[in-house]
């Protein structure tokens, strides 16, 4: 037994027990998420964290502080600055992500469309729902996002973040003034909202909770699937490689 452990297996795996050798997959990994996608993911995640926290405080500021005279104190100013800075980082990142959807690999495009015209895609959505309802015994293996994940990403991130960017830039343009280029670009948002910018504040606020709900589900599902599915999830967004735990077909 001891000798077996030190000799490399046919897969080139060291310290592999015979028991493990039965489980080791031949296909080790597929490169899925290219560097721009991974960098975007983590910048986006950080920006969203900052935006949710500072955005909440902009709606409901922290208790008043008396550090110094108003002229020497800038608490709310810094909170708003962080919000606007993170918001613009998110915006530029999202534009960069759209660029990469066009020029990157086909997995980079998954976020931006939902193939609702494909019957087999819907069948797989239903299968994934069954998996999450504990009705399917074993999940399918996917190199990219599974169809249910794709659906969630599309509605929560692609549409959700777009909505937050558009309403956010509209609100930011109010601070720059009615003469600003940004207001000329996004002033129509207020027309759609009926003219009163308070409505835009409210829907922007609701949008934050939309994203928060996604965050809860996303982080839970990523960790759960990393443990329970037949493939890697969390590490794939770090290394870019999708590894599979078995070589069995569906």
């Amino acid at each position: 037994m001891r000798d077996d452990l030190t000799a490399p297996s046919p897969h080139g795996l060291h310290d592999l027990s015979p028991h493990e050798a039965a489980q080791a997959s031949v296909q080790t990994s597929v490169y899925v998420y290219e560097a721009p996608v991974r960098i975007w993911h983590w910048i986006n995640a950080a920006a969203i964290m900052i935006l949710c926290l500072t955005g909440y405080f902009i709606g409901s500021p922290p208790p008043s502080m008396q550090i110094g005279e108003a002229a020497h104190q800038f608490v709310m100013g810094y909170i708003r600055f962080a919000h606007f800075a993170a918001g613009l980082v998110l915006t530029v990142g999202f534009l960069g992500r759209i660029y990469w959807a066009i020029f990157g690999n086909h997995h980079a495009r998954q976020l931006f469309y939902v193939p609702i015209w494909r019957a087999d895609w819907w069948r797989e959505v239903v299968f994934e729902i069954r998996w999450y309802l504990f009705l399917a015994r074993e999940p399918k293996k996917y190199v990219g996002h599974n169809p249910l994940a794709q659906l969630a990403m599309f509605f929560f991130i692609t549409l959700g973040v777009s909505f937050m960017i558009v309403t956010g830039l509209a609100l930011y343009s109010e601070g720059l003034g009615h003469g600003s280029i940004l207001y000329a670009m996004f002033g129509w948002v207020f027309d759609l909202a009926g003219g009163n910018s308070h409505v835009v504040h409210t829907v922007h606020h609701l949008g934050m909770w939309w994203i928060v709900i996604f965050m809860i589900v996303h982080i839970y599902v990523a960790i759960r699937e990393d443990i329970m599915s037949r493939q890697s999830i969390v590490s794939t967004m770090i290394s870019g490689h999708r590894t599979f735990k078995d070589d069995r077909p569906d």
């Binding site: 909440y56 500021p61 108003a70 601070g175 009163n196 759960r224 443990i227």
Partner: protein
């Protein structure tokens, strides 16, 4: 058409000296944000132009616009009414009443066809054929359509005429409708507020007389010179906002110190008006200076935006009274609880699967050996 007196002639008749007249022109120029070069232009316009006839009609309203207007200080409303315009019909200000008043209206429309300005205070209710507002025995909406037909331009005074105000707040039983949704073929300038600032009202009229055109309007049809910035942008309490120093309760120390009223529901950050610069009652004060937050009275549908005293206001769409945070936290809570239950079931399922598959794995290991 009989010749109408020019502004200058009327002013001189009232004993206003040439010196006072020029002074008035320069004051008006600065009030409108114009350079000194415009003073002779304004003087010239007032010397040569006939007074503009104005018809002022009142629909569903509370007359706070008229009340504000007669308190105008720069220029004095008296000067506007008696010298600058020829206010030929106005319920509140005219001496005539009944048939005489209605006759004056008809005469003005006939004599100055296409040349008069129609100032509308209040709005027409459209439900029940407009029977909720009767003027001279007829629904107000008919008078409005009649007077608007030959008007050069229309001024929508106040939140009522501009957006509908309280009578158009949900559920709006009389179907009170702002002027621009009833009259669609005339240039309309909105001067919202409940009421609008007196100087804004007289300033808008002065601009229209002087330049014979509407002032530059914003996206919603409000004069940009008065509605181009938010109360928040020019608020004298803004440094306290940026510092994060807020009034936490109406009677606390911070309220006495004059801190920002944001947490008390001030709508200054979403309200476009000139209150924090022009102020009220000859520049004496304005709501925030008096210690109360802005209620956003010059914004569309301000009665339907939830409490005046909340910053994150209730979402009336959800039926129950709850704001964006309460709705969001409830939704996130439900999702969070769902995730926790799902995780627990997943763990149980995984444990079950492991215990079921263990014998076979052991047997496989035996076979390998």
């Amino acid at each position: 058409m009989e010749p109408i007196e020019t502004f200058y002639e009327v002013m001189r008749k009232q004993g206003i000296t040439r010196r006072s007249f020029i002074k008035y022109c320069s004051l008006t120029a600065s009030a409108l944000g114009l350079g000194p070069a415009f003073v002779p232009k304004i003087a010239h316009a007032m010397e040569t132009k006939p007074r503009t006839p104005v018809i002022w009609v009142n629909g569903l309203e509370c007359t706070c616009c008229s009340e504000s207007f007669i308190r105008g200080a720069h220029p004095l409303a008296k000067d506007v009414v008696l010298s600058m315009i020829s206010l030929d019909y106005s319920h509140t200000l005219m001496a005539a009443a009944g048939h005489h008043a209605e006759a004056a209206l008809e005469e003005t429309i006939r004599k100055y066809k296409g040349n008069y300005i129609l100032a509308v205070e209040g709005n027409p209710p459209l439900n029940e054929d407009g029977m909720f507002c009767i003027v001279g025995g007829k629904p107000f909406v008919e008078q409005l359509r009649h007077a608007a037909k030959d008007a050069k331009a229309i001024i929508s005074w106040g939140a009522c005429a501009s957006y509908g105000c309280v009578q158009a707040a949900k559920p709006n039983p009389t179907q009170a409708t702002p002027v621009h949704k009833v009259i669609t073929d005339k240039p309309i300038i909105k001067v919202p507020g409940c009421p609008p600032i007196a100087e804004v009202m007289t300033g808008v009229i002065t601009y229209m007389l002087t330049f014979d055109r509407l002032p530059e309007l914003d996206r919603q049809g409000r004069p940009a010179m008065f509605y181009g910035q938010r109360i928040h942008d020019k608020c004298y309490r803004r440094p306290h906002f940026d510092a994060g120093q807020f009034v936490e309760a109406w009677d606390d120390e911070n309220a006495r110190k004059g801190y920002c009223l944001y947490k008390m529901g001030c709508k200054g950050p979403t309200t476009y008006n000139a209150c924090s610069t022009v102020r009220w009652n000859e520049g004496l004060s304005f709501p925030i200076q008096a210690g109360h937050g802005c209620i956003g009275c010059s914004e569309d549908g301000f009665w339907d935006q939830g409490s005046f005293y909340d910053r994150v206001t209730d979402l009336t769409q959800f039926g129950a009274e709850s704001n964006a945070d309460q709705v969001g936290m409830a939704a996130a809570g439900v999702v969070g609880a769902g995730v926790a239950v799902h995780a627990a079931v997943s763990a149980l399922k995984a444990a079950q699967k492991k215990s079921q598959s263990r014998p076979s794995a052991e047997s496989r290991a035996r076979e390998d050996a």
